[in-house]
């Protein structure tokens, strides 16, 4: 079992407290973080589409949902999986997102250099999702579930000259959308793990 940063304290260090209390507290804390990041992710997506111009902000805008760097949307059957398996998938997705958000930030720094708030939100999102991913991994460790370990290094792209500004905008839209989907998915999955949530 690999333990990452942010792993739980050894409950036996404080013999007067029940080990379950620490775990419950950690679950609630991580759940709250996921809820907060879901709200931030919604705001990020709104800010992002404003700066790209229509049709990005229009209702029904739907560019091709192409896979991005081995990260795809939660599968349709995700909710039917055991909660620990769901959290493993959540953790893997959360681990992939910081690099992608950073790519988007760098693209937007060229496309929208004066959109300082957008750039700041993208930078914050990368940092925050990294923290959430670490917290989920720590929970998995505490639950005795193996995480998938460090994700693969994303290889350099097979660069194509056909890539242009519009695909760069679409990429950012896709990544911001994936960020929102995965943090909200994580929030739901943690909610089921929290005391009082469905089994």
């Amino acid at each position: 079992m690999s333990r990452r940063e942010g792993s739980l304290e050894d409950p036996q260090a404080d013999s007067s407290a029940s080990p379950l209390t620490h775990l419950e507290a950690k679950i609630q804390q991580t759940h709250s973080l996921a809820r907060l990041l879901t709200k931030y992710a919604e705001q990020l997506l709104q800010e992002y589409v404003q700066h790209q111009g229509d049709p990005f902000g229009l209702p029904g805008f739907s560019p091709p949902r192409l896979p991005v760097a081995d990260l795809s949307d939660p599968a349709p059957g995700h909710a039917d999986l055991p909660v620990q398996e769901r959290l493993r998938l959540d953790a893997a997705a959360l681990a992939a997102l910081p690099q992608l958000l950073d790519v988007v930030r760098r693209l937007q720094a060229e496309l929208n250099p004066r959109a300082l708030r957008l750039l700041r939100r993208l930078e914050d999102a990368a940092r925050q999702v990294r923290a959430l991913g670490a917290a989920v991994e720590a929970l998995l460790g505490a639950l005795g579930a193996e995480s998938r370990g460090p994700g693969p290094e994303y290889a350099a792209a097979a660069a194509t000259d056909s890539a242009g500004v519009f695909p760069a905008k679409v990429l950012g839209f896709r990544v911001c959308g994936l960020y929102l989907e995965w943090v909200s998915r994580t929030e739901v999955d943690l909610g089921q793990l929290a005391p009082g949530g469905p089994a």
């Binding site: 700066h51 049709p55 805008f61 091709p64 994303y154 792209a157 097979a158 660069a159 890539a163 242009g164």
Partner: protein
């Protein structure tokens, strides 16, 4: 395939699209999706840069193996708005052309979104149009040095300002007789078109300063401003400005201040300006001929009136320079009141209000509040008009509309009036 035609007399400075970054793996629009057999397309030109008013010919070419890979039914949108079909025509079975004329400036700096759609509305390809103007020559560069330690400059962008394209401004400077070009790095310090050079500036030698503006359509350079740092020095406002009565003289106030300490080690003469106004007025009177003194007596004032006074400094003559420096900001307002006239007014010697002033009721209430304030803020129990004047200044600052409200209240009630409790 016909390319986009930039407008006449335009050297379209096309920037390459943002480079793909090493961590990116993206199935790009235009590249077939692996295994899906779906149709995709390519728009040409990709991300053109055009002058406002110019025309564009674009094409959308469909690729794919399926029988549906045809240009039949394709349509275009620009910034989400569907373009009239009469602007499009099929060049061949797999290519749809578009002709746009008299283009307007781009709606967003990231480029206008020109999108090619399949019959069912799905997006096949996109291209971003950059339509704008080249920058005009920046002008009106002005610079100042705070206490000879730095240099801040600001400028005005070219005559029209709006280029519809991201325009980068770069302030450059160099020593006139030797040295290389340097680029200022701290932008937007005192507004959107400003830059601050914090250190490593030489004195007694002229600098050349200019601004370069660059965007996708070209660049422009301002005229060169030549200056010596010593000729554009400004300073902090004079500190410790005190305003006081001149004995019992009803129409005079004495103003005293200290010369700015930051320049005390340099050989210079300072000149000062004073401005003052009546408490409820917005019109300042300026006393201009205050040379190298640190006190001044204002005369010809109205008795029994509160005045606000400010002082500013011009550090001219630094190290023998013949040029005037740059005026500092005005000091914080300091208030004082002239003594009331000794002549008895109506009602026999009481502190009667003059025309236009609020009734004695509010004045007495004010005094009561003032005494309460004194207990908190004064460490001497002596009641003095100086302290009273300081309080008036404080009240003026924190309840700007109180006198207005009192004026309105005297003619009719008004809800939620601010100011002291009634």
């Amino acid at each position: 395939m016909p390319a986009g035609r930039p407008g006449p007399a335009a050297q379209s400075a096309r920037r390459p699209p943002p480079p793909l970054l090493p961590l990116l793996l993206l199935c790009v629009l235009g590249a077939p999706r692996a295994g899906s057999g779906a149709d995709t397309a390519v728009i040409s030109p990709q991300d053109p840069t055009l002058l406002i008013g110019s025309s564009l010919q674009a094409t959308c070419s469909v690729h794919g193996d399926s029988p549906g890979a045809t240009a039949e039914g394709l349509y275009w949108t620009l910034n989400g708005r569907r373009l009239p079909p009469e602007l499009s025509r099929m060049l061949n079975a797999s290519t749809m052309a578009l002709a746009l004329a008299n283009l307007n400036g781009s709606r967003q700096q990231s480029g206008d979104n020109l999108v090619c759609h399949a019959r069912d509305g799905s997006i096949l390809a996109g291209s971003c149009l950059y339509v704008g103007l080249p920058p005009e020559k920046p002008f009106n560069i002005s610079c100042w040095s705070k206490n000879m330690k730095d240099l801040t400059c600001r400028w005005t962008p070219g005559a029209h300002g709006e280029t519809f394209l991201h325009t980068n401004y770069s302030l450059k400077y160099k020593l006139r007789w030797y040295g290389q070009d340097n680029t200022c790095e701290e932008y937007h310090t005192v507004g959107p078109h400003s830059c601050h050079i914090p250190k490593d500036l030489a004195l007694f030698t002229p600098y050349e300063i200019w601004v370069e503006a660059t965007n996708r359509l070209g660049s422009a350079r301002s005229d060169v401003l030549t200056l010596d740092i010593l000729d554009v020095v400004t300073t902090d406002p004079p500190p410790d400005v005190h305003v006081s009565r001149v004995g019992g003289l009803e129409d005079q106030l004495s103003v005293r201040w200290v010369s700015p300490p930051a320049l005390k080690d340099f050989l210079f003469q300072a000149k000062y300006q004073i401005r003052y106004r009546v408490e409820d007025s917005v019109d300042w009177k300026v006393v201009d001929d205050v040379s190298n003194q640190t006190s001044c007596r204002l005369a010809g004032l109205k008795p029994g009136t509160v005045y606000f006074v400010q002082v500013r400094c011009n550090p001219f003559g630094i190290y023998g320079s013949k040029k005037a420096g740059i005026w500092s900001e005005w000091s914080h307002p300091t208030a004082a009141s002239t003594p009331r006239s000794e002549r008895p007014g109506p009602g026999g010697g009481a502190c009667e209000p003059r025309g236009g002033e609020p009734s004695s009721g509010p004045v007495r209430r004010e005094l009561k509040q003032f005494l309460g304030w004194l207990k908190k803020h004064a460490y001497c129990s002596n009641l003095s008009f100086r302290l009273y004047d300081q309080w008036r200044a404080w009240m003026q600052k924190s309840h700007k509309t109180r006198n207005q409200d009192e004026g309105i209240l005297s003619s009719g009630r008004r809800g939620a009036a601010r100011g002291p409790a009634r």
